[in-house]
Each structure stands twice: as C-alpha cells, then as structure tokens.
C-alpha cells in the first residue's frame, strides 16, 4: 500500500524538503556558523516595516474576504443543490485565469486614467482622479479578489452541513431570524470561518506578483524582500533567513488554529 506513496513522496523530498533544509542551512552558514542574518531581521527597520505591512495586509485581506465571502457562502448553502453549484462555479471561475492576467486587469481598472476614475469623472463625482492603485489599497483589492474562493469554499462546506432543522427549531422556540442567526448559525459556521481565514491569511503572507504589480513600490511585502535580496544583492543568506522566519510564522498560525478546530477540518477534508 505505502509503495503507492513513494513517487509523490520522492518528488516532495527532492523538490521541497531538501531545498528547504538547504535554505535553513544557508541562513545560518556563511564562511562559518553565524546568526548575523537573523540579527539583521530583528534590528533593521526595513525588515520590521515589511513584516508589519505584510501582516497588516494579510489581516485586512482576511477580514475583507470573510465579510464578502460569508454572504455568498450563505446563499450558496441555502439554495437548492442545482443552484448552489452555479453560484460556486461563479466563485471559482476566476481561478481559471492566471494571477498575472488578473493583476493587470485590476491595473487597467484602477489606474489614474483607468475605467473607474474616468467613469467617476464623467459622472461629475470627482475632479481629481482617485489614487486607487500603486499603493496598499490596490494590493488589497486584487489580493481579496484572488483569494476570495479560498474563503468561500470552506465556509460553504461548513454551512452546508448545518442541519436546516436547527434553524427551524430556533425559530419555533421563539428566536427571531437575527437571534437564530447569531446564536445558532454563526457559532456553528465558525469552524468554516477559521479554516477560510487561516488559508487566506497564510496565502497572503507569501503573495508576490500582486503586490509587486499593484503596490507601485510603496507596498513592500516580505516576499518582495526575499526576491530583492536574491536578484539585486545576491544575498542568499539574507533571503533564506527571511523565508525561514516567514515559514515559522505560518507554522505558528497553523498550530494556533489547530488548537481551535481539528486539523482535518482546517485542510478542508471534512
């Protein structure tokens, strides 16, 4: 039986585990053992700022996908199966176009002379174009768009398993629709919110192309720090140490979330 796992396992070990170990090694070895790279992360402002900004963006994106995704998942879960599949298909559809294409599409929409600004201008709502892109705002909008399915799908999976009888019981016992929602439905959908939030948060932490294209150099996320260190300064040690710290953060988040809900649920297996 376990032989069936061997090919996949071999690929994972060769292409993921080995490079990761090599990365970790790089971060602490440069002409002898050194913690210089880590000291720099802790002491230099640019690193601190980047990590702070990355976490802030991840937090905003997570909150925004939750607020936007919850109603969608709710509608999909309460519709008859045939219709809910259509709603979910519409949520997943953007998956089939590349992240790069979508980032450029947002650029076209949001830039100074873009569709949104020119429309607002022609309607007389604004005189000076709004700065919608080449900043954190543009990064957040595009990232939310790309990661929304990762929030909607776990939410839908959880909601769809909440028996309709429970909300009916809540109503028959005297609960108004909002009382039943906040006391019964929302608490029972919490595992889906946590699962979706962890996925979106962790994916945002590592986002690269979107902030690179839409951040306009003002948004400096951790992934870009890694890329600069390698491409510009050829500093593999610095890049490796940043990656290791980011990976540690991700593990910490997963560990914290797994204390709240079972791991298999976090992975969307249930």
């Amino acid at each position: 039986m376990f032989l069936l796992l061997t090919p996949a396992l071999a690929v994972i070990v060769a292409l993921l585990v080995v490079p990761l170990l090599w990365l970790a090694w790089q971060s602490v070895y440069h002409n002898g053992f050194t913690l210089e790279n880590y000291r720099r992360i802790l002491t230099e402002d640019i690193y601190w700022h980047s990590f702070l900004q990355t976490f802030r963006i991840a937090f905003i994106v997570t909150a925004a996908t939750a607020l936007l995704g919850y109603p969608v998942a709710y509608v999909a879960a309460s519709l008859p199966r045939r219709w809910s599949i259509i709603v979910l298909a519409m949520v997943v559809l953007p998956f089939w176009t590349s992240v790069l294409v979508r980032a450029y599409a947002w650029l076209i929409l949001l830039q100074r002379t873009g569709i949104i600004n020119s429309t607002l201008k022609s309607l007389g709502l604004i005189d000076v174009p709004l700065i919608l892109v080449n900043n954190e705002f543009g990064t957040v909008i595009a990232t939310v768009h790309i990661l929304l399915p990762f929030m909607v799908l776990p939410l839908y999976a959880t909601m769809q398993k909440i028996p309709a009888e429970l909300t009916m019981a809540g109503a028959s016992l005297g609960g108004t629709p909002s009382h039943v929602f906040f006391r019964v439905f929302l608490p029972l959908s919490l595992p889906g919110i946590i699962a979706g939030a962890v996925l979106v948060f962790v994916l945002t932490l590592g986002f690269y192309i979107t902030p690179e294209l839409l951040g306009g150099g003002r948004t400096f996320m951790v992934s870009m720090l890694v890329s600069r260190n390698v491409e510009l300064y050829n500093e593999w040690g610095a890049a490796s140490s940043i990656s290791v710290v980011l990976l540690a953060c991700v593990f910490a988040i997963f560990w914290a979330a797994s204390r709240l809900i079972p791991v298999e649920r976090l992975m969307g297996m249930r």
Partner: protein, 364 residues
Amino acid sequence: MNIAKNIESVGVSIRNARKSYGAFHALDDVSLEVGAGEFVSLLGPSGSGKTTFLGILGGFVQPTSGSVFLGDRDITYAPPHKRDIGIVFQNYALFPHMSVGENVAFPLRARRLPKSTWPARVRDALSMVQLAGFEDRRITELSGGQRQRVALARAIIFEPRLILMDEPLSALDKQLRENMQIELRHLHQKLRATIIYVTHDQREALTMSDRVAIMNRGKIVQIDTPVRLHDHPTDSFVAGFIGEATLLPVEQAGAEYVKLGSYLLRSAHPVPPGKEIFLAVHAEKLLIADDTDDGFLNRMAGTVTEVLYQGESARVFIQLDDGTRLSLRQPSNHTGLTKIKSVGSRMTIALHPQDTILVPKASY
C-alpha cells in the same frame, strides 16, 4: 415556577388547508379540529402529507389556500417565531454547541426574559423529563433517549399553547420507544397541553392518542378514537392500514348478510353501500372454533397451511375450501396453543358478528 400549572392549552383548527406543487397536491383540502388539551396523532404512510401538514402548523410551509387557527387567533401567515408552538423534531435538533441547560434556556433567552428567572425554570423543565441536574452536560455526552428528553424539555419550557411532535421516537430502539410512549402519555396528562403527534407507527399512535387521523395521498381519510378506528374503519384503505387485516371481497346478501365464497356471514353492522365490499378480518379476532361455541358465530372450515410461533402469540395460516387464505393470531398460553391443529389437518374457525367488519372500497 411550574410549567404544568402555567400551560394554557388551546384548540387548533385547520380549515381547508391545501398545498400544491404544480398539479401535485401534497395536502388536499384538509380540515382538522383539535380540542384544547387533546392528543391527536397523524398516522399515514410516507408521502401521505403528514410532514407538509406539520410544516403548515409550524409556519415553515405556506399553504396554497386555507387557514390555521390557534384558539381564536389566525396564524396562517404568522412567522414560526411568533406562533408559540413547541416543536420536537425527528432528529431532536438540539444545538450541538450549547450545553443541555443552554439548549433548554434558548426559548427564554429568545424571549428576552430576565436571566435570573432561567435557572429555576430550566430545573423545572428538566425534572419534568427526569433529567434533573443535567444542566451542564454536553449534548454529545447524552444517549438518544436523553437527547429526546432534552428536546422535550426545550419544547415545553416556554409553556407553548400547542406542542407538535414529528416522529420523535423513531430513532430510539424498541424497548426505549415503548417506555417513552408511556412517559409522553403521562407528560401529556400532567401538562394538559394540546399535542399533535406525527408518526408512521400505528401502534405508537394507538397507544398514546385520544384520536388518530389517518392520512393518505394528502387527505385525512378518517379521524377517530383508536378503538373506533380499529373496529369501524371507513374504507378498505384504513382497514388494511390498521392492524393485521386481511381484506376479502364479499357480496351483499341481505341487510346484514354477505357471502364470502360459499359462506354466508352475518355482521352486526349494516352492510355499506356500493358494489365493491370487503370483509376486513383482523388476525386477532378470528377464533378457533370448538363445540362449546355459541351458535351465532360465523363459521368457516379450512386446512392449516402454516403455523408460526412468534413469542407472545402464534400466527396460524388457513386455506378455506374455496382457496381463500386467512390468518389468525392465537395467544401463546397453554390453552390457546393446544387448540391449534397441526399443519395439513382440518380446522374450523369462527368470527363474531361484531367482529365481522365490512368496508367499501377506498375511492382513491
């Protein structure tokens, strides 16, 4: 605080309720009057409209036409949370993220009653269902029977004017189910609440109810006391549905006589009108005849084809001389069992004119 003293039960009146899905009538012009404090069961095969009926009462299904009155209040279009109807669902529908106490207190919280009044009322409701002291248990720690009781406590704590139960015992094993039936019956007497109980288990319906409504194809076919239902079925559907009845086509042969093959049978009840008439023979009402029997019994003779011993009784299959097959049930006491003839031998059976039940063919 005492739930039993505070429940002010009212009657329910369903008038010409109809629910149509296109050309299909899930509920077809149904009317039902339930008196205050009465225990009425809805009994019928699956798809007979019981669930739709319950949905209309609970407010989860909008009737296509007709109206529902609770006492003198028209609740046809009232939303579920404004009906004051306690519902016990088939799968209990307990809230898994709340403790037993929180589940039972839910109706109090929903009604924004002062928090200080909750503990006493929760205690009272739980002791009504013999779960005193279970407040802090998790739902997952409870057995099926205990969950059932929690659901019951939650449905009665707000002193509803009507209690609906949707097959509440169907998930329990036989022994527990029979105990719960008796307990529910006692609870009903204690609360004096109006109860409408949906089931597909006729024994359950007959055990607990003041009256039973038999449903079929979206209609109430007959509503009567358990005894009347058993002895005076209105047509062949009810006769075949209640009890272990064999329906045999017979021909009218006078005001109180019918012919079953070559046998002339006398009935104590008037022969129903119509061309197609059936004799409904309940297995437990057929007797094994001996010479001491009274002369006025209807007698038939046949051959024993099979004897099944079933514990508390034995079922005997007989083929009459004209080929008609019947079965009778004999209690398995010594006297009863010794009367049964061995397979292949001749036996005379008797049916009391009072038990000679004649029904017209169901018209649907």
